[in-house]
């Protein structure tokens, strides 16, 4: 049943992506609203599928595909929550819905990339996956907001503005990016710490030098730099957006890409 729900959720994420893209292209608030509505239904089904999965025992979140799927769900849910606070962010659905779709589809791919560690110390492993996924989702939102800000900035500078009805304002994207990073980075940090504790519980070592560990640590250090620049060095909106987008690209590579490649 869980699998059926995931398929439906993926179809709805795809429909939301198409509707949101058409809404942005035609500056149609109706299509954009439809995109958000479809995303909401998709998030509900997706969440329900995790609940069903959990009914049959602890969900296999240490499986990379499930973890990415969880990240997509958390990111979409965080976006819908943000919409309650800043309704003008609705234009961001044009990025969130396709990313969520890709996240779910990743789970369907025949990727043999489960973390090569014995699933011991269940509490730490699940806490690690939950916290890391939440952090990843929020940093993904920050990256998405940053990417959209860069696109809008480019059009505004080129004197070809897209129109205030199509996409969120630069200020709201910047603010959403800042909030997402302010919450997402501490969650990622906690995810990193619980990951180390899980490793210690499973292998008796704090550090094994595995690619997943090395790249994750590298990504964390990069985010330390990005967060410092953003919150303490008064980085401008454009630079912060570029950092958030690039930072998330690196983070995705470190967490997912490395697992797939190595």
């Amino acid at each position: 049943m869980s699998e059926q729900l995931i398929y439906w959720a993926a179809a709805l994420y795809l429909a939301a992506s198409v509707s949101a893209a058409a809404g942005a292209a035609q500056a149609s608030p109706t299509l954009r609203r439809l995109g958000v509505s479809l995303l909401t239904v998709a998030v509900c089904l997706h969440g329900f599928s995790f609940a069903v999965l959990h009914r049959d025992g602890p969900p296999p979140l240490t499986d990379l595909a499930a973890a990415v799927s969880l990240t997509a769900w958390l990111g979409s849910a965080a976006f819908l929550f943000a919409l309650l606070l800043w309704p003008r962010l609705a234009g961001l659905v044009v990025l969130v819905a396709p990313l969520a779709f890709l996240g779910v589809v990743f789970g369907f791919l025949p990727v043999d990339a489960s973390v090569p560690l014995p699933v011991l110390a269940g509490r730490w492993s699940h806490l690690h996956v939950l916290l890391s996924s939440a952090g990843l989702a929020l940093l993904g939102l920050a990256g998405g907001a940053g990417a959209l800000l860069l696109i809008e900035d480019r059009w505004l500078k080129a004197k070809r503005p897209l129109g205030s009805a199509r996409l969120p304002s630069l200020e709201s994207l910047d603010r959403a990016g800042a909030v997402a990073m302010a919450v997402g980075f501490p969650l990622l940090t906690l995810g990193f710490i619980t990951g180390v504790l899980w490793l210690r519980g499973a292998t008796g070592e704090w550090w094994t030098g595995a690619p997943h560990q090395v790249w994750s640590a590298l990504a964390w250090f990069i985010y330390v730099g990005l967060s410092s620049a953003r919150f303490f060095a008064h980085q401008g909106a454009h630079a912060a957006a570029r950092s958030a987008a690039l930072g998330f690209s690196f983070l995705i590579f470190a967490v997912v890409g490395v697992e797939v490649l190595w």
Partner: protein, 443 residues
Amino acid sequence: MVRLLLVGVNHRSAPLAVREQFAVEAAVPVLEKLVAGDEIEEAVLISTCNRVEIAVSTQQLEAARHRLERCFHSELGSGLAQSGVAWRAEFLYEHVDAEAARHLFRVAASLDSMVIGEPQILGQVKDAFRLATDHRTCGPILSRLFEAAFTAAKRVRSETRIAERPVSIARVAVDLAAQIFESFADKAVLLIGAGEMTELALAALRQAGLARLAVANRRREHAFELAKRFNASAHLLADLPELLPAADIVITSVAGSDWMLRASQVSEAQRLRHGRPLFVIDMGVPRNVDPAVNRLADVYLYDIDDLGRQVERNAAERSVEGERAEAIVREEAQRFLGWLFALRAVPTIRDLRARAEEMRAAELQKSAVRLALTPEQFLGVEALTHTLVNKILHAPLSRLRSALESEAGAAQLEAARSLFALDVEASSENGAEGALDPSPDDS
């Protein structure tokens, strides 16, 4: 036969000096007076700063036309003579039936407004309808007409982008600012110099919620004069280095050939602003702001030509949207007119059936006596005549109904009444226009 008539004066038919004489302060007495007479059955009065229109339903078109002309000339426009403006028939326009419906639909959808797509007009038309309904000057015909107009307006708003693209320099400036800033309530504007265009942009920004404003000018007295007019703080151009970091939007319009704002100045201000976005609108001719400013991160510079080009793009987009909106209006108007024309057929269909039934019953009675029919035979012949009459009438009545879905059907209706001599002997009680079911049973 029920007819629709709309008579009015608007921004295209009469200048402001005339329109303001027609302004209606209390619509209810006007409406009650109109429906008190025999000429007009229902009336709704729309009064805005750009138009005064009265829509009525009537059985006596000519009489209603004269009544409305008298209303505009002698009652609403009684102040014209005092203001020294001579009455001219061209001030008024009138639309009948289909044209009246289409006009009202265009008005409600803001296609007939001075600023096409402006949202206030729909609310004003709704208020006018509500007022007429509350005071019972609006009946079933106009209710249906106005409800259909609201549906058309809603469709135009949701299915087209007619109102989305601003087509004035000032509105384009506000729209651009809205793409940069989430809200204007906490933003500060710095106005350098002055001019008609800058004042319009400022007024539009104020309307959008802008609160804080600083004015800088070469001469102290000019700065104070502007500051007083816009309720702002006054400064000299020498204060720019201190003013720039505090501003989120800068509008410049200063005479002179040298750059008023250089990239280095703005860059320094941005450092102090911690890179918060800055929107610079250069309305000076020649330009006041170094174009290199647009290359600075988080700074967006638009000069008068950039704004003008955007206005042109928006206008082109609007005209495409306007065509789509007109198509929606035509479609909704056609739907309403189908209902109205079908409604008009009710008395004719009823008269025709009554005439046929009368003849059938009379002939049956005569034949029953002449042929000395038994009760069983009488019932058989009666059923036969019923079937015959229904079969004969079925095709003409069906065709009449479909013809009446278009405006041209009115001629066929008249022809049917003439062919069957319905106007000669039709009893007055058969002309029940109040019956709103356009599909009586003819089977």
